[in-house]
Amino acid sequence: MKYDVTITIGLKEGMLNPEARAIQHALANLGFPTEDLSTARLYRITLDAADAAAAEKEAGQMCERLLANPVIHHYTIEVE
């Protein structure tokens, strides 16, 4: 069965995010002060799996083996 999987990968809590700080600064210059701002990378993947749990497990392995770096990243997986 086909599943649409959304993987979101962000930096772990407390990790310096220079990109987010630069964007926050640019927004402030445009008159949009923000209390906090973070960035994340989102992957939309369509794959075949026996069931939703299998699709989630597959996506988890993708994160562990390539998409995320466990030193700095955390990730979430949503399966539809």
């Binding site: 990790m15 310096l16 220079p18 990109e19 630069a22 083996r65 390539l66 998409l67 770096n69 030193v71 700095i72």
Partner: protein, 238 residues
Amino acid sequence: MRFAVVRFGGSNCDRDTYHVLADVCGVDTDLVWYKDGLVKPYDAVVLPGGFSYGDYLRAGAIAARTPIMAELIRHAKSGGLVLGICNGAQIGSEAGLVPGTFTLNAYPKFISRHVHLRVENTTSPFTSLYREGEVIRVPIAHKEGRYVAPDEVLARLNREGRVAFRFCDEHGNTNPDSNPNGSAENITGVLSEAGNVLAMMPHPERASESVLGSEDGVKIFNSMIAYIEEHGRRRPTQ
């Protein structure tokens, strides 16, 4: 004695590194295309700088998962030397050859300039020709070179003498002002647990001839050669 310099799509310091090894240090060196694998027994393998796979995903992440890396990990596990320079350091950390990771600079821009490094370890196969605490001048050229590792990993690296180089000023002081990319504890050269893998962001191959303004980097390659001469050669890679 034979060295390999592995070329990935997007490597761009491969010929510089080859030139220093073959022409300056006078050691037999092969340029190895990653798809060809490590077919000969090499004493040392160098992962050169560049932008393998366009730095897509994370710098070094995709090259780190190519089949030749499984051969390289076997080479390292059998005691063979591995030197990762810049993108090669990113590849090495992504492959788990050294702990921690090299990520986006604290000020998120590409930095290309000479920096000073303090030599922290003079017993490794890569640094034995330096004096302890020696300050050397070597260029950096990267956007993703900020070393990050959990506190317990940093403590262990310090305890085990596995920090090879720290960014410093010309007098050897390590502080935020002498840390160009925001690396944890100014670290920019990390040794593996067994000490036979070094991942470093600065480019020693660009500081190995007087015509380039500094010869401070050539001691890394000459230390490797001295280590291999002392400890025997032609380690099996398979």
